[in-house]
């Protein structure tokens, strides 16, 4: 952007106009070849994660955890996300908010989440796609709300799958998985969601 501003300050001659067009073309080409995302695409992506984070926070308001999910009444309601996940920053912005009379907190894990760490919500993005089946299998009966953003998340046994269509976030709920986790999802939330067909896995 700085380069573009410098070009704008040059005198408006035919030669400089040609130079500017040429330099712009070179910049775009470089961006394509090197793989740098265009500026507006990066902005969209950031807002997309912010929307996803907000949706996850809102969804959590409509889920009831069993008492066993918390060690005491003042224990925060924690979401576990991978440190490198693009949603991590957006989630941290929500940390400290109040939810169901508890403080919302964000816990970060490096490669694989430690289940005994006190996660009430576990967000698994496409970054952890490879480990998802094993991980979901391992926590099947634990009171952990698993949320993912890939198409097959609920088919793999995840509870809520997020999906962004045009400007709206839609979510699919796997009721069987939520029941085995001992979570109570509000009927109002179910009205808004697509219900996963467990026979077909989606």
């Amino acid at each position: 952007m700085k380069q573009l501003k410098i070009i704008m300050k040059l005198p408006q001659t035919r030669l400089t106009r040609h130079c500017r067009t040429f330099q712009l073309a070179v910049l775009w080409y470089a961006a394509l070849v090197i793989g740098l995302p265009p500026v507006h695409a990066a902005a969209e992506s950031a807002s997309e994660y912010a929307v996803k984070a907000a949706i996850i926070f809102k969804i959590a308001k409509f889920v009831s955890w069993p008492e066993s999910a918390f060690s005491n009444l003042s224990e925060p309601l924690s979401i576990c996300v991978q440190k490198d996940d693009p949603i991590a920053d957006a989630m941290s912005a929500l940390s400290g908010k109040s939810i169901q009379g508890r403080v919302f907190s964000v816990r970060y894990f490096d490669k694989s989440p430690v289940i005994s760490d006190g996660c009430q919500i576990l967000f698994l993005s496409t970054l952890q796609e490879a480990m998802q089946p094993d991980l979901l299998e391992a926590i099947t009966n634990q009171p952990i709300l698993t949320i993912g953003d890939n198409d097959q998340f609920t088919a793999l046994g995840g509870i809520i799958g997020l999906e962004i269509n045009s400007d709206r976030v839609q979510f699919t709920i796997n009721i069987v998985a939520s029941e085995s986790a001992g979570l109570d999802i509000s009927s109002q939330l179910l009205q808004l969601a697509k219900i996963a067909d467990n026979d077909q896995g989606t």
Binding site: K61, I99, Q100, L192
Partner: protein, 256 residues
């Protein structure tokens, strides 16, 4: 019109008793009408507040996820309450999320009302407490915050007709009129009989005086019916007799 003082005592007594009965009944009816009206207003506010709370609770997900279709669906359940004319759900900024109109023809009115009510809502937002507004005997509007997870997420407005209150008051007025007519008749019949206890001794004494005057018959004696003021007129107490003034009168029984 004859002066009240010229009317016979019996009629005076009957009129007084009927007037007293009607006045008492009318005052009691007015007081009861006011009490009924106030109780109805309180109950309709309570009823609407409960309905608003239920609708608000049912639309928390719709508001949270800004789903207007679901919010409209939540308001549709108002159809079960015929007195409710309109309903609106607003978000915390005052943006309209859902509208309900009892009749399709009232849709525009409902839309207009939402605009006018929105300005009221803006004034009430600061209060963050339920507010109701009566428009004479026509409508009532109630505004209530919608809370979820200890947070205000929106507002609900319900507008209801006060027709049931008007009908109740009309029915009450008719019942009062009927009760007054029956009371007048009952009071008339009863007072006709009861007034005799008061008027008969006076009338008998008056009749005796008339006969004494007409016939110069001083041997006539009034029959004493009681020890009240009329009875004391018929048989004067001893101190009066001994005073000399009345005892010397030729009509006095002691001088005959």
């Amino acid at each position: 019109m004859r002066k009240f003082a010229d009317i016979p005592i019996a009629k005076k007594l009957v009129s007084i008793m009927i007037a007293t009965t009607v006045t008492a009944l009318l005052l009691a009816s007015i007081m009861q009408g006011i009490t009924e009206s106030m109780a109805y207003r309180e109950s309709i506010v309570q009823n609407l507040a409960t309905i608003a709370a239920v609708i608000g609770t049912n639309s928390t997900a719709a508001i949270t996820f800004e789903d207007q279709q679901l919010a409209n669906q939540a308001l549709k359940s108002l159809k079960a309450e015929p007195s409710i004319l309109s309903g609106h759900i607003f978000d915390t900024t005052g943006k309209l999320m859902a509208t309900y109109a009892a009749n399709e023809s009232d849709w525009e009115i409902s839309e207009q009302m939402s605009k006018s009510r929105r300005s009221l809502l803006a004034n009430w937002l600061a209060k963050n407490e339920p507010v109701h507004l009566f428009s004479g005997l026509e409508t009532i509007d109630i505004f209530q915050p919608i809370q979820f997870d200890r947070e205000i997420i929106g507002y609900i407005h319900l507008g209801a007709s006060l027709d049931p209150l008007v009908k109740t008051l009309q029915r009450f007025a008719w019942m009062t009129v009927i009760a007054i007519i029956i009371s007048i008749l009952a009071a008339y019949v009863m007072s006709l009989r009861l007034q005799a206890f008061v008027s008969h001794p006076i009338l008998a004494l008056a009749d005796l005086m008339r006969r004494v005057t007409q016939d110069d018959d001083f041997s006539l004696r009034a029959e004493k019916t009681g020890d009240d003021e009329v009875g004391s007129l018929i048989e004067p107490p001893v101190p009066v007799l001994s005073s000399g003034s009345l005892a010397d009168h030729p009509f006095h029984p002691y001088n005959q």
